[in-house]
């Protein structure tokens, strides 16, 4: 698909030249913005409602016993129970699958639930996976502590050298997991060689694309097999709804080796059905729904799905402005005397600037960190002195948000883990919103002054 967003801040095209006739047929190759508004949401067939209705129902009537049997056997398409499928949720799943150029998607209650669902489909007790150690702190805790209770072991490596993933692989490894633009540190992972390493080992690459969003980066186009989002962040974009999603490229061959028995061997609860043999490139999505959502239960509410669907319609507009504002704020902070460093991949000073230009030429996102002179105490004071930026533990909102990770989101980690994750004592995380950029800068300026003078 033709969607290469231009770098922000370059101004608009000259108004004098008439627009060139489109060379692409939108019917077969619709643009990103078109898909963000239309994919998954044709008019409602029954009522003609143009907006996807909120289907608030737990269950769906069967035509007859035979129809019910076909649905329970997974031999036909249709809805049974909203723990597994719901029309409003399905519309959102198709929307995100389209934006990521995936085969399909399974949505669920949160980004954490999405990670659980993805791994649950092919991990068994005793299995391992290799993960970047520069991940969102909540992911490190989920992988490093809670997953252990399932007998799943995460092997964490420094993602800055892709070869670290290869060195850490063991015969028990079932996947490689990275966050392509990591929260909070502004770390960009070189996912193309990591995908090659995963495929050489016969395992999938899973990419958390929450911060970049499919507007800035589509990991499947760089070789990723599975993409995960916390839709709570930029996809929903307005800080009003939790949600997660797993997008499957449909390209990974689960039968290429004997590592993925859950998808290739008979499933007892479905009369010995083999998901990969029966559903081919739809196997993972079907499994996450028919087994994962069925038995783990983290279904997404149709109301949340509706709110997130509405958010996705403006994703391109919002991400352009998030990137523009974040770059302006980062440049301001880099020159500020109370700031010791700024880690934003959109700045030329960032060691990840070249990787960001490769993977997300439209901008480096809206989330980044900076170091305040004076360490832990100064960090807390800056956060508390803000009057426009909101002090809370979320990102990807229209509102600008500020957080001191060491005392909040990352406080459950060890000091060493915090530093490795880019959440040391002096670190402040910003999620730059869509307010007037001068106002965001003015609020940070007064907060830095207040912290220094107190």
């Amino acid at each position: 698909m033709n969607d290469n967003p231009k770098k922000p801040g370059k101004g608009t095209a000259a108004a004098s030249a008439p627009p060139a006739p489109p060379r692409r047929d939108w019917r077969t190759s619709p643009g990103f913005e078109t898909r963000a508004i239309h994919a998954g949401t044709p008019p409602d067939p029954t009522t003609g409602a143009r907006i996807m209705p909120i289907y608030h129902t737990t269950a769906y009537v069967f035509d007859d016993v035979d129809h019910a049997a076909s649905l329970f056997d997974l031999s036909t398409f249709g809805y049974i129970y909203s723990r597994l499928t719901n029309p409003t949720v399905a519309a959102l799943e198709e929307r995100v699958a389209s934006l990521e150029n995936g085969r399909g998607a399974t949505a669920c209650a949160s980004g954490h639930a999405a990670q659980l669902l993805a791994f649950f489909s092919f991990m068994d007790p005793g299995d391992q996976f290799v993960a970047s150690r520069k991940l969102y702190g909540g992911s490190i805790t989920q992988f490093g502590k809670t997953f252990k209770k399932f007998g799943w072991e995460a092997i964490f490596v420094d993602p800055d050298d892709p070869r670290n993933f290869e060195r850490a692989l063991t015969p028990k490894c079932k996947a490689i997991f990275v966050e392509n633009l990591a929260n909070p540190g502004g770390v960009v992972v070189d996912i193309e060689p990591v995908a090659a390493i995963a495929h050489k080992a016969g395992i999938p690459l899973i990419v958390d694309n929450t911060l970049a969003t499919p507007f800035l980066c589509r990991p499947i186009e760089w070789g990723a097999d599975i993409v995960i989002h916390s839709m709570t962040k930029f996809l929903g974009g307005h800080g009003n709804s939790m949600g997660g999603v797993v997008v499957d490229s449909g390209r990974f061959d689960w039968a290429q080796n004997d590592k993925f028995a859950g998808l290739t061997e008979p499933e007892a609860a479905y009369h010995g059905l083999r998901f990969h043999e029966t559903f081919g490139d739809m196997a993972l999505v079907m499994h996450m729904r028919a087994v994962g959502l069925r038995d783990l239960g983290p279904a997404l509410s149709p109301t949340n799905a509706f709110l997130i669907l509405t958010g996705t319609e403006t994703l391109a507009l919002r991400m352009r402005r998030h990137c523009e504002n974040a770059l302006a704020v980062a440049a301001f902070l880099e020159r500020h005397p109370a700031v010791s460093w700024v880690s934003y991949a959109g700045l030329a000073s960032s060691p990840y600037h070249a990787l960001a230009a490769k993977y997300m030429p439209g901008g480096a996102g809206g989330v980044f960190t900076f170091g305040v002179k004076g360490g832990y105490e100064a960090g807390i004071k800056v956060v508390e002195a803000c009057e426009l930026l909101s002090h809370l533990a979320n990102i990807g909102d229209t509102r600008s948000l500020i957080l001191h990770p060491a005392s909040t989101t990352h406080r459950q980690l060890t000091e060493a883990q915090r530093v490795a994750a880019g959440a040391g004592p002096d670190v402040i995380r910003l999620s730059i919103g869509l307010e007037t950029v001068d106002d965001i800068i003015a609020d940070l300026d007064q907060a830095l002054a207040t912290a220094r003078n107190s």
Partner: protein
């Protein structure tokens, strides 16, 4: 030869909208096999599906008598076979293409994962429309909005109201 990497939605709609009777080669009496899922689904959409499988010849599959070979189907009883759906491997699709031509089918359809360009070229030369590496159940569901119910990417965008798909 036609482009067999991409099929326009219009072509698939035309094929699925024009055929009525389908011979499914490789149909399985085992109800939880993919071929059985596809046969039952296509029956529910109003197609008549005649199973062909030498190992199940003479048996009844989903209410239809199974035949050993395409040539054994009594078309005066079943009605003309419009389409041959190949649920076999790519090599087996070669001779099946010739049999499909011989029985007068209009469409040769090879299932997901099945592709045989030489067989397709012979069938096209004989005037058949050929679709390869696709599943008619999935394509029918995709074109009629049902695949979207499962969160799959239908790649269809339209502001037109789609009538609910009903049995034909």
């Amino acid at each position: 030869m036609a482009d067999h990497d991409h099929y326009p939605d219009g072509l698939l709609r035309k094929v699925l909208g024009s055929v009525r009777t389908i011979a499914m080669v490789g149909a399985s009496p085992d109800w939880h096999k993919a071929s059985s899922f596809a046969m039952k689904y296509l029956q529910s959409k109003g197609y008549r599906v005649i199973p062909v499988n030498p190992r199940a010849a003479g048996r009844s599959i989903l209410g239809e008598t199974c035949y050993a070979r395409l040539a054994d189907i009594p078309q005066d009883e079943t009605g003309r076979i419009d389409m041959v759906d190949v649920f076999r491997n790519s090599a087996a699709a070669g001779p099946l293409a010739d049999e499909a031509i011989a029985i007068g089918a209009k469409v040769l359809w090879m299932q997901l994962g099945v592709r045989n360009d030489a067989a397709a070229a012979r069938a096209e030369a004989a005037g058949l429309t050929v679709v390869m590496n696709r599943c008619p159940k999935i394509e029918y569901g995709r074109l009629n909005g049902e695949l979207s119910w499962g969160g799959f990417n239908s790649r269809i965008i339209s502001s037109k109201r789609r009538r609910p798909a009903a049995a034909r």
